[in-house]
Symmetry: C2
Subunit: 72 residues, 2 copies
DNA sequence: TAAAAACACGTAGTTTGACTTCGTGGTATA
DNA sequence: TATACCACGAAGTCAAACTACGTGTTTTTA
């Protein structure tokens, strides 16, 4: 559950920065496939990975876990 | 670095709830040794583990990554 | 001040899952 | 119709998440 929300959050942040999965993967040193897995909530990054995502997306690590409203 | 801060944060939260490592371990279904490793920053929990810690400590997951001032 | 409780820490082991590569196919857009 | 972007499956590797055991030190409390 949490990793699904986390994945959506990461995908949203990435799009808001106008980055493709490939560009993000490159920045992080991850494979594109892994980015896709994370964004779809299939896999969750490690804590070290969270730090990398946060830096690349220019937010605090805690902000990766701040989710928006589900509906509106 | 991040896992050291995370460990200190978790230890602080645990103490503020007046829990021993053993009591926290029991709540989480973890070994006492693992709690010790996490609190000392030797190991980091998985994302699923973060969720469990947050619930047991009654904070949001993001709050586990909100750190205080280093000195004062 | 002694005993008990709480914790650090070393070693060593098992198992999960974080992360990879390769390959296919779908959808949007230019 | 070409190409950029992404979902998704299968299958593998390896680090690290997590365990058990044992000893010793610090902290608490009676």
């Amino acid at each position: 559950m949490l990793q699904k929300k986390l994945g959506r959050r990461i995908a949203d942040l990435r799009r808001s920065k106008k980055l493709t999965q490939e560009q993000l993967a490159e920045k992080l040193g991850y494979s594109v496939e892994f980015i896709s897995l994370v964004e779809r909530g299939v896999n969750a990054p490690s804590v070290a990975g969270l730090e990398k995502f946060a830096k690349a997306l220019k937010v605090e690590v805690g902000d990766l876990f701040v989710f928006e409203e589900k509906k509106r």
